[in-house]
């Protein structure tokens, strides 16, 4: 595992101000369907992140199981109180943690979920809302959709929102997260490479475009964590990144290789950016709600 030399230990841990968030982007290659081995991989990464004084370690979508599970979905599912997740909570200790898992909910429904741990307990679980079922994707065959994009208040990093992969391709997630007044958007993904005609992988370029656009429109810090490795010929390309509220890329993990990339994010940038471009302040949320009500009547009630 490498750590980004530009960002690791850029500021010694003891001199960090409370407004600086040191994030560890855990760009791993989970083993398909092998929860046990993936759990150990998570523990190693969490330990390395703690050694480097990270405040938050973020793993990719379905980091505990791998992606192309198909009929393995019920076989690798966990509930939120499972011993495996408790092991990770214990491993995180004082730092915060985001990881992806197959969640078995009430009524034996399965969700593509992510949990956020703070101070030794789960603060929030996001269930992926938009389940792609086209092209190479078949998530609706296996998963139930989540029903909300809900932000949550953290002790140190302000209001945080989580989206999972395809959620990030829908402006509804961005609109709701803006209305939720988030400071940090965590986007965990499993994006396979497609499009090899240009200088970069086309899907990697699209993710960068989305991250830069959403960070600027929301005036928020956007953290995207992708995985690497192969499953059934799919090449997950990595390129995890942190994007500042001005749309500037602060750090980027390597393409194709596993890496634990540390990045120091200055939360004071949020204030500066919102002074310069106060888009959130000027947003007419009530008008949006009324317009959506009108559209609801036209499209669903007439």
């Amino acid at each position: 595992m490498n750590c980004d030399p530009e960002n690791s230990a850029a500021v010694p841990a003891e001199t960090l101000t409370p407004g600086t968030l040191r994030v560890a982007l855990a760009q791993i290659a989970p083993r398909l369907g092998d929860r046990h081995q993936n759990l150990e991989l998570h523990e190693q990464q969490i330990a390395a992140a703690r050694e480097q004084a990270a405040d938050l370690v973020v793993f990719p979508e379905l980091s505990l199981t791998g992606y192309f599970l198909r009929d393995m979905v019920p076989e690798v599912a966990l509930d939120r109180a499972s011993p495996e997740i408790n092991r990770l909570i214990a491993a995180a200790g004082p730092i915060s943690l985001v990881a992806g898992f197959v969640e078995e909910g009430a009524g034996h429904q399965f969700y593509n979920s992510a949990f956020y741990v703070e101070a030794g307990s789960i603060l929030h679980v996001h269930r992926k809302v938009y389940l792609p079922t086209y092209g190479l994707f078949e998530e609706q065959r296996y998963f139930s959709p989540g029903k909300r994009f809900q932000a949550f208040q953290t002790a140190r990093f302000g209001r945080v929102g989580i989206v999972i992969c395809e959620d990030f391709w829908h402006v509804s997630s961005a609109t709701i997260m803006q209305a939720e007044e988030i400071d940090v958007l965590l986007c965990i993904i499993n994006s396979p490479a497609r499009g090899v005609s240009g200088p970069r992988i086309a899907t990697a370029e699209t993710y960068e475009l989305l991250a830069r656009t959403f960070s600027q429109l929301l005036g928020a810090l956007v953290i995207v964590v992708n995985r690497v490795g192969f499953e059934d010929g799919l090449c997950f390309f990595g390129n995890s990144m942190a994007v500042g509220p001005d749309g500037r890329i602060i750090a980027q993990a390597p393409q194709f290789d596993e890496a634990l990339t540390l990045v120091d994010c200055d939360l004071a940038e949020l204030r500066r950016e919102r002074l310069i471009t106060p888009l959130g302040r000027d947003e007419q949320l009530l008008m949006t709600i009324e317009e959506l009500r009108r559209i609801k009547r036209r499209r669903y009630e007439s």
């Binding site: 398909l32 369907g33 192309f68 599970l69 198909r70 009929d71 393995m72 490479a193 090899v196 005609s197 240009g198 200088p199 970069r200 992988i201 490795g229 192969f230 499953e231 059934d232 010929g233 090449c235 194709f256």
Partner: protein, 279 residues
């Protein structure tokens, strides 16, 4: 390189593609518990590209290139294979298939040229799979996207493999990759041939060039054009019709045999696990 391949949507970034495919080969071989690779080397562009990719991925000492000439195989085939081997330094094994094929042919009077060509392809497959066991290497496939779509290959013959790094690249794209990887110019420039019989060329047998058909396939398959759209854009209607029928007629070669369904869980229908299950 044809300058307007870019407009046709057939240009690739060969450096990026080589990187992905090299990692793919290494990952797929390692995850199945193997450390080595076996493939059939014909001296054509497809198997030469595979040679360069597999050597990059595994190192020459872990790669076995098997040449399997039949008595009608050309001198050019032997010479071009030797050039690739000399350049890459991998292990090689020459297994002429004439004795076993001719023993069969002697018992089958009136065997057609096509049956003989398929027999040779399947004979080579049995050699490769036996060498896979002997060398403890995974069989790497050498069929490209154009061939897979047109069904221009022998089922359970040259289409058989454990992993295929080049199956999502059209022939015109493989040429770009071959050029980048340093495949010898003699191989890049010669007319593609399965060397199925003396003087056989793919394009002579198919009746159209790879350049022509790739331009059509990329529209029909990748961009999901309707055949009529392609005709309106200037492609010959008969050509379009023929290609569409070839793609449809050969679907069976790209799938497992059809299994009669009797239960709730039938292979490849609702018993759905990834190929990489458990690896």
């Amino acid at each position: 390189m044809n300058p307007d391949l870019g407009a046709a949507g057939l240009v690739i970034n060969p450096e990026l593609v080589a990187e992905i495919l090299t990692r793919f080969v290494r990952n797929e071989i390692h995850r199945t518990g193997f450390r080595r690779a076996v493939f059939g080397l014909s001296g054509g562009i497809d198997s030469s590209v595979v040679a360069y990719l597999v050597v990059r991925a595994m190192g020459p000492e872990n790669v076995l290139a098997v040449t399997m000439p039949y008595k009608t195989s050309s001198e050019e085939t032997r010479r071009d294979s030797a050039a690739v081997v000399a350049d890459l330094g991998m292990q090689t094994l020459d297994v002429p298939i004439t004795p076993q094929v001719d023993a069969y042919v002697a018992a089958m009077p009136g065997i057609t040229q096509m049956r003989l060509a398929n027999k040779c392809a399947r004979e080579r497959m049995t050699v490769l799979y036996d060498q896979s066991a002997a060398f403890e290497g995974l069989v790497v496939g050498t069929s490209n996207k154009t061939e897979l779509l047109l069904g221009y290959g022998t089922q359970f013959g040259d289409l058989a493999s454990a992993i295929n790094p080049i199956g999502d690249l059209y022939k015109t794209q493989l040429r770009q990759l071959a050029d980048y990887l340093g495949v010898p110019a003699a191989i890049l420039n010669k007319a593609p041939s399965g060397d199925l019989w003396v003087g056989q060329t793919d394009e002579g047998e198919l009746g159209f060039s790879y350049d022509q058909v790739d331009r059509l396939l990329v529209l029909l398959v990748d961009r999901r054009w309707q055949p009529a759209q392609a005709v309106r854009a200037g492609f010959d209607a008969e050509f379009v019709d023929r290609v569409v029928r070839m793609v449809r007629r050969n679907q069976y070669k790209r799938r497992l045999p059809v299994i009669a369904k009797l239960t709730n869980r039938t292979m490849d229908r609702d018993f759905r696990y990834p190929r990489d299950w458990g690896t």
